[in-house]
C-alpha cells in the first residue's frame, strides 16, 4: 500500500496572541518525501502536530486522500509520527513497542509483522531489549519501525535525527531515504537543518513565522529563491540593494552603488523599482584589481578583502565593496591562495546565476538565522 496525499487548507493555529501557523495551505502529493524546513519557532512542529491530530487548528481543514480528517482524533487518523524524543514506551520491550499500533487495531500476525519492521531497520536481534538498553541511534530506528509497521497513509518525522551525532545522522538520512523508496509512503519531515532537507526531500517548504515562504524541489529553491529569507536560510546569498534602470533582451539592468549589474528578467521577482540582486557565494569569482572581467560577466569592485577562512574543500573570502556592503565568495582551492586580507580584488559572476528579489526594506532579514543555520548544519561550503 502506498501513501495518500495530504492537503492543508488555510490552516491557522493561535496560542493566545501568538499565531504559530498563519493561514497555511499546501498539498503534499502521495508517496513524496516532503520536508518542512524552518528556524525553531517558525511553526513547523505545530504544523506536524495538527496533521497528527495532537493539536487542533484554530481554523482551516486537513484532508488525507481527499477525506476531511480535521475533526477526528489522533487515534482515528491513518497517520503515525516519529517523535523528536522517540517516545518509546519504557515498560515494553522493543518488539512490543513496535507491535503497539498493530495490537490496538487488532490486526493479525502481529509478531511476524513487527519482526519484519524490525528487519527493515536491521534491529531484529534486539527485539527482546527494553528501550533504555539501546543507544540513541537504535532507539531512533525502533521509533521508525514502530511508525512504519502500521503502514500509515502519511508518516510524520519530527526532527528525528536531531539528537544523533553528525556521522550517525548522515547514515540515518541515507537509511530513511532508502526506506521511503522501499515502502513508498508519504513522508513529512520537519527539520531546521537545511542540508538534511535538501539531501532527503523531493519537495522542500521553507517556513518562517507561521507561513510558507517558498516551496519546491531543493535544486529549484537553491537556484532561484523568491524571498530574502529563503535566499539566506537555504544556503547563503550575497544580496545587493539596487534600483532597476532598464530591460534589454531579457536582461534587467540594475544600478547597485553606481555599478550596472545584470539579472535575467525571468529570474527576477520584481522588474522595476527597488530590488535585491542576489548571487550565491560559490558563483562569484575573485579577480585581481587589474584583471579584466570575463566577457559577458558582471563585475563589481574593487573591494578590500576583510577575511579569508580556509575550509579544506574551499576557501571563503569576505570582501568589503564600497557601497555594496560585505560580499562572501567561496573559491575552490584550485589555484592556491589568490588573495590575502587587506588586498584589493574585484568580483565577477555570470548574470545567469544572479536573481532579483523584492526589496522589502529589510535586506538583512533572516541573515542572522542563516548564519545560525549554517553553523547548525556544518554546511560551510556547498
Amino acid at each position: 500500500m502506498s501513501g495518500r496525499d495530504l492537503e492543508l487548507v488555510s490552516v491557522t493555529k493561535r496560542f493566545g496572541d501568538f499565531t504559530a501557523v498563519d493561514d497555511l495551505s499546501l498539498t503534499m502529493p502521495s508517496g513524496s518525501f516532503f520536508a518542512l524546513l524552518g528556524p525553531s519557532g517558525c511553526g513547523k512542529t505545530t504544523m506536524l502536530r495538527i496533521i497528527a491530530g495532537l493539536e487542533s487548528p484554530s481554523a482551516g481543514r486537513v484532508f488525507i486522500g481527499g477525506e476531511d480528517i480535521t475533526a477526528t482524533r489522533a487515534h482515528q487518523r491513518p497517520v503515525n509520527t516519529v517523535f523528536q524524543s522517540y517516545a518509546l514506551f519504557p515498560h515494553l520491550d522493543v518488539i512490543e513497542n513496535v507491535a503497539f499500533g498493530l495490537r490496538r487495531r487488532r490486526e493479525k500476525h502481529v509478531v511476524e509483522r513487527a519482526m519484519a519492521a524490525l528487519d527493515l531497520v536491521e534491529l531484529r536481534h534486539l527485539a527482546g531489549r527494553k528501550p533504555a538498553q539501546l543507544s540513541g541511534g537504535q532507539q531512533q530506528r525502533v521509533a521508525l519501525a514502530r511508525a512504519l509497521v502500521n503502514n500509515p497513509a502519511v508518516l510524520l518525522l519530527d526532527e528525528p535525527l536531531g539528537a544523533l551525532d553528525l556521522k550517525l545522522r548522515r547514515q540515518m538520512q541515507v537509511e530513511l531515504k532508502r526506506i521511503q523508496d522501499e515502502v513508498g509512503l508519504t513522508f513529512v519531515h520537519v527539520t531546521h537543518d537545511q542540508e538534511e532537507a535538501m539531501t532527503m526531500a523531493d519537495t522542500v517548504a521553507v517556513m518562517n513565522a507561521g507561513r510558507i515562504e517558498q516551496m519546491g524541489a531543493p535544486q529549484e529553491l537553491y537556484d532561484l529563491p523568491r524571498t530574502p529569507f529563503v535566499a539566506n536560510f537555504l544556503g547563503r546569498s550575497n544580496l545587493l540593494a539596487g534600483t532597476v534602470t532598464d530591460e534589454h533582451g531579457g536582461l534587467l539592468g540594475v544600478d547597485v552603488a553606481g555599478t550596472r549589474v545584470q539579472v535575467p528578467a525571468d529570474r527576477a521577482v520584481a522588474r522595476s523599482g527597488a530590488v535585491l540582486v542576489g548571487v550565491r557565494p560559490e558563483k562569484v569569482i575573485l579577480l585581481g584589481a587589474d584583471d579584466p572581467a570575463p566577457p559577458g560577466a558582471t563585475a563589481l569592485g574593487p573591494g578590500t578583502v576583510a577575511d579569508v577562512s580556509f575550509a579544506g574543500v574551499s576557501t571563503e573570502y569576505l570582501v568589503d565593496v564600497p557601497g555594496a556592503g560585505r560580499m562572501s565568495v567561496f573559491a575552490q582551492n584550485l589555484t592556491g591562495v589568490s588573495a590575502t586580507p587587506g588586498g584589493t580584488v574585484r568580483l565577477a559572476w555570470s548574470p545567469q546565476h544572479a536573481f532579483a528579489l523584492v526589496d522589502d526594506g529589510a535586506p538583512d532579514d533572516g541573515t542572522g538565522e542563516a548564519v545560525e543555520a549554517a553553523e547548525l548544519s556544518e554546511a560551510a561550503a556547498p
Partner: protein
C-alpha cells in the same frame, strides 16, 4: 614503576578499609536503634507468644514454655476477626485507589501547568493530618449519625431502609478506614503520575490507542509503582487498625487489632495477644510478597 604501583594499590586498600570503618561508625546509631526498638521487641513478642498460663495463678501470670497450641487456639478462635481485618482492609484499599487515583491524576497531570494550584491541592490532601487521627474518626461518627444529613438523604432517596443506620456497621468502619488512609494512597500515586512523560501518552494516541486503551496500556503500567506502594501503605496499617472499628463499629465489626488490644490491656492474656500479633505480621508479609510479585513491578520499584 612497579613499586609505585604496589604502594599506590596498598594505600587504596587501606583507604577503602578506613572508609568502610567510617561507614559502620555512621551506621551504628541507626543499627542500635533498630536493634533496641525492633529486633529485641520482636524477639520478646515471639517468646511471649509461646508462654503458657500458670494454672490457678493470678490474672495474667504466665511462665516460659513452648506452647505452639497458642497459635492454633488463636487462629481457631479469632478466624472471623482475621477475615474481617483483611476484608475491610482490602475494600478500603480498593476504595482509596478508586478515589485517590483520579485525585492524584488531576493534581499530577491536569494541573501540571499550574504549579500554584498543584501545591494548594497537595496541601489539601495532607491537611487532615493536621488534626489527630482519633478526632477525625470521631468526626465520622457525627457524619454518619442517625440524624445526620448523610443518613436522612440516603433514606429520602430510598437507598437506605427507614429503620437502618450507618454507625456501628461495617459500612462505617470501611468508610473510616478509607478516609483515614486516603493520603497514603494518593501521595505515592501522585508521585508516579507527576513523573509520567505525557509525550508517551501522545505517542499512544498516535498509535491508534483510544484514550481508554492508552490509559490501560501506557499510563497504568507506568504508574504501577505508585499504585503498589500506595496500596501497601494503605492495606498494611488498615489490616492492623483497631481505632476505626472501636469508634465506628460494634462487637460485630471487631478486627484483629481490637482483639489484640483487648487481650493485651483488658484480659491481660499476653501469650494469645502476642501470637495474634505474630500471625498478623506473618500474614501481611506473605500477602505483600505475593502482591509485589504478582503486579510484576520488581524492576520498576
Amino acid at each position: 614503576m612497579t613499586a609505585a604501583l604496589v604502594v599506590g594499590h596498598g594505600t587504596e586498600v587501606a583507604g577503602a578499609r578506613r572508609r568502610s570503618r567510617t561507614a559502620w561508625l555512621l551506621l551504628a546509631p541507626g543499627l542500635l536503634y533498630l536493634f533496641v526498638f525492633f529486633v529485641a521487641p520482636v524477639a520478646v513478642l515471639l517468646l511471649t507468644s509461646l508462654f503458657e498460663r500458670v494454672p490457678g495463678g493470678p490474672v495474667g501470670a504466665t511462665r516460659p514454655a513452648f506452647a505452639v497450641s497458642n497459635y492454633v487456639d488463636a487462629v481457631v478462635t479469632y478466624a472471623p476477626q482475621f477475615g474481617r481485618s483483611f476484608l475491610y482492609a482490602f475494600i478500603a484499599t480498593v476504595l482509596a485507589l478508586a478515589i485517590g487515583y483520579p485525585l492524584a491524576y488531576v493534581i499530577g497531570v491536569r494541573c501540571r501547568t499550574r504549579p500554584l494550584l498543584q501545591g494548594v491541592l497537595l496541601v489539601l490532601v495532607i491537611a487532615p493530618f493536621f488534626t489527630s487521627f482519633i478526632l477525625r474518626t470521631i468526626a465520622w461518627k457525627q457524619i454518619l449519625a442517625d440524624d445526620s444529613v448523610v443518613v436522612s438523604v440516603l433514606k429520602t432517596v430510598s437507598l437506605l431502609p427507614d429503620d437502618a443506620r450507618l454507625t456501628a456497621t461495617p459500612v462505617a468502619v470501611v468508610a473510616g478506614l478509607t478516609y483515614n488512609f486516603l493520603p497514603f494512597m494518593t501521595l505515592p500515586v501522585y508521585a508516579s503520575l507527576e513523573r509520567l512523560d505525557l509525550r508517551l501518552v501522545e505517542a499512544g494516541g498516535d498509535l491508534y490507542a483510544t484514550p481508554i486503551s492508552t490509559f490501560r496500556h501506557v499510563t497504568l503500567p507506568l504508574t504501577m509503582p505508585g499504585i503498589v506502594s500506595g496500596s501497601l501503605l494503605t492495606f498494611i496499617p488498615a489490616a492492623g487498625d483497631y481505632v476505626n472499628s472501636a469508634l465506628l463499629g460494634n462487637a460485630g465489626t471487631s478486627m484483629v487489632g481490637n482483639v489484640i488490644d483487648s487481650r493485651f490491656f483488658r484480659v491481660v492474656d499476653y501469650p494469645t495477644a502476642a501470637a495474634l500479633s505474630v500471625i498478623l505480621m506473618a500474614a501481611v508479609l506473605l500477602l505483600v510478597a505475593w502482591y509485589v510479585r504478582r503486579s510484576g513491578t520488581e524492576d520498576l520499584l
